[in-house]
């Protein structure tokens, strides 16, 4: 990839995750869901990297692997240039603190039986860092996300959706991470609240020098928030590049279709002539198409697309890579 090891904070190489499908009386593995099938990328210090795609493309699985919620079937994860697999235990513990996650659903991600103080201090208590001054730290964290000490003893259900998501962010910041995995952080929020949280995240990133892996299906938010973008389809990266590459010069047909499928909040742009409406559904990751996985829905597909899998190749611009036999020429 293009990132040099010096500015990379997290890198993944040829990441694969297969979930076994068991069947029969003996519960033997009869098939596998190929949720991730060879994904590589680098996340650089202080940047926001967007990971976009539709449900089932594997974007959330990447986030889960990074925070240790699931282990990859194969492939490597690097943290500050070191393979996580071969890390000594002490470093791994540090890694648990350095990469934190914010979940999509502000209702399910906060225990209904805890107060704000207990919620935000939980990582500190787990990691043994909640002793003297613990309360001050919690108040500091609450203030960082726009809440205050008066909220300390409230239960999660006494907060609005936007406030709950702020609590989730405060909790993720408790251990002074350098990387946040944001798994659809604003998708469950109301439109009028979304912008508040998006701005808050941007402020925190500036102040704390955080790197964000921004997982989202909402491309408008991604365009606003991200520096670089990776587009995934059925467990594979189909295109990656700087934000402007992806949004202004998409080279992969899927990226183009995805962009044009989003309804724009402007009636004047209705029925724009370059609109692409894909036919059919996303195929099952249990039995992905041969060759290029997008070919079953692609209007450009030729015979070669069924036989040969396109590899992710840099385009002339140097910042953009695309996995397509017939990329858009810009």
């Amino acid at each position: 990839m293009t990132a040099t090891l010096t500015d990379e904070i997290v890198g993944v190489e040829d990441l694969r995750k297969f979930f076994p499908v068991r069947g029969g009386v003996l519960r033997r593995q009869v098939a596998a869901i190929r949720a991730l099938d060879g994904v590589s990328f680098s996340l650089r210090v202080g940047e926001t990297l967007g990971l976009v795609g539709e449900s089932g493309c594997g974007k959330s699985t990447v986030g889960q692997i990074l925070v240790g919620l699931t282990t990859p079937t194969s492939g490597t994860v690097r943290f500050r240039g070191v393979d996580v697999e071969t890390m000594p235990a002490a470093d791994r513990r540090e890694l648990r603190c350095a990469i934190q996650i914010v979940f999509q659903d502000p209702y399910s991600s906060l225990s209904p039986r805890m107060t704000a103080r207990e919620l935000v201090s939980e990582p500190l208590r787990v990691q043994g860092g909640y002793r003297s001054g613990g309360r001050d730290r919690v108040v500091e964290l609450l203030e960082m996300v726009g809440l205050s000490a008066e909220h300390l003893n409230r239960y999660a259900h006494e907060f609005s959706g936007g406030q709950r998501q702020r609590l989730g962010i405060a909790r993720a910041l408790a251990l002074d991470p350098s990387v946040l995995v944001l798994d659809e952080p604003v998708s469950a929020l109301d439109v009028s609240i979304r912008a508040q949280v998006v701005n808050q995240l941007a402020t925190l990133q500036r102040e704390l020098g955080l790197a964000y892996l921004f997982i989202s299906h909402d491309l408008s938010v991604v365009r606003h928030s991200c520096d670089r973008v990776i587009v995934m389809y059925l467990g594979k990266v189909v295109e990656s590049g700087d934000k402007l590459d992806i949004f202004e010069r998409p080279a992969h047909p899927y990226t183009r279709a995805l962009l044009s499928a989003i309804p724009l909040p402007d009636p004047a742009l209705r029925d724009r002539p370059d609109r692409i409406v894909l036919s059919g559904d996303v195929p099952s990751p249990r039995n992905p198409p041969s060759g290029c996985r997008f070919r079953t829905r692609c209007w450009k597909a030729q015979d070669v697309c069924a036989t040969t899998e396109p590899v992710l190749t840099p385009t002339q611009s140097g910042t953009q890579s695309v996995a397509c036999h017939f990329p858009e020429q810009q």
Binding site: G68, R93, Q104, S109, V126, F159, G161
Partner: protein, 304 residues
């Protein structure tokens, strides 16, 4: 930001001003459950009467008055006397201590074992789950009462044996409930969040899984108390539980094995019989009330 709540949350929960935990909300719902409150008050009266037995009852439960055996109720003996001339009212209250004590202790033991095993089974899955749940199946397929009778026969009848035997045999009920709750809660994102910042199994069990299961477990425990009281009465009636001269509702009923007594001296068996029935009924009402109060699905239904 203001303290205003989102309407969706307002529909489901509470006013934004007062700070109320889940327990506070459940109590508020419980109070509206009429039968449960009747049960709770009845149970309260029974418990207080048992605890204050020495104060309330004018006689010692084991005091034998040979001059007055099998006497009908009178001003001296409010509920009459039994075959050994002991005061039935005093025995009834003291028996309440033992019967309630046995019931609560046995239920607590089985719930404690069941909660731990259920949480472990649900959290770790795999072979731990298989071993624990198959053991539960095996225990449930045994006629528990028969096994306890055998145990009591081998070890000799005593209160401790009784409590331990019932406690150990009762856990699968709580185990299954807790495992079920654990299976659903472990997939919730707040548990994933805890795992992501390095929380281990013990942390998850004590901070997330057990608290989440506390509601349903309380219901199981309450109903378990009723079952244990019934079992104690049965075993003591058969002479395998609480040993005389100590009184329990069950061994007080032993006297009722005689047909003449049943027909002509109801004061000797009717009071303990009523006590068992009333207690079990009250406990079950409380259990139902708890279930409704703790199950959020009935929240709106209870408002009508």
């Amino acid at each position: 930001m203001t303290a205003a709540m989102e309407p969706a949350a307002a529909l489901a929960a509470t006013t934004p001003v007062s700070t109320r935990g889940p327990a506070g909300l459940a109590w508020r719902r419980f109070r509206r459950h009429r039968m449960a409150m009747v049960g709770l008050v009845t149970l309260g009266v029974i418990v207080v009467a048992a605890l204050l037995a020495d104060v309330i009852a004018p006689h010692h439960p084991n005091e034998v008055d040979l001059a007055a055996f099998r006497q009908a109720p009178s001003a001296e003996h409010w509920l009459g006397t039994d075959s050994a001339g002991r005061d039935v009212f005093a025995r009834l209250l003291h028996a309440g201590r033992i019967s309630l004590g046995v019931g609560i202790a046995a239920s607590l033991i089985s719930v404690a074992i069941g909660t731990l095993l259920g949480a472990v089974a649900g959290l770790f899955r795999g072979w731990a789950d298989t071993v624990i749940m198959r053991t539960a199946d095996i225990m449930l397929s045994f006629p528990a009462l028969v096994v306890i009778i055998v145990v009591a026969g081998v070890l000799g009848p005593s209160v401790v044996t009784l409590v331990l035997a019932m406690g150990v045999f009762g856990w699968p009920a709580a185990g299954r409930v807790v495992r079920g709750v654990t299976l659903s809660v472990r997939e919730r994102e707040f548990v994933k969040a805890a795992r992501s910042f390095g929380a281990g199994g013990w942390w998850l069990i004590t901070r997330h899984l057990v608290p989440a299961a506390l509601g349903p477990v309380t219901v199981v425990a309450t109903l378990g108390v009723a079952q244990a009281i019934m079992a104690e009465a049965t075993l003591s009636f058969l002479g395998l539980g609480v040993e005389p001269p100590a009184a329990s509702w069950g061994n007080m009923l032993t006297d009722a094995q005689n047909l003449t007594l049943i027909s002509s001296m109801p004061w000797m068996w009717l009071p303990p019989g009523i006590a068992v029935a009333l207690t079990v009924l009250a406990v079950n009402f409380v259990g139902d009330g708890l279930r409704d109060a703790l199950d959020p699905r009935t929240t709106l239904g209870a408002l009508r």
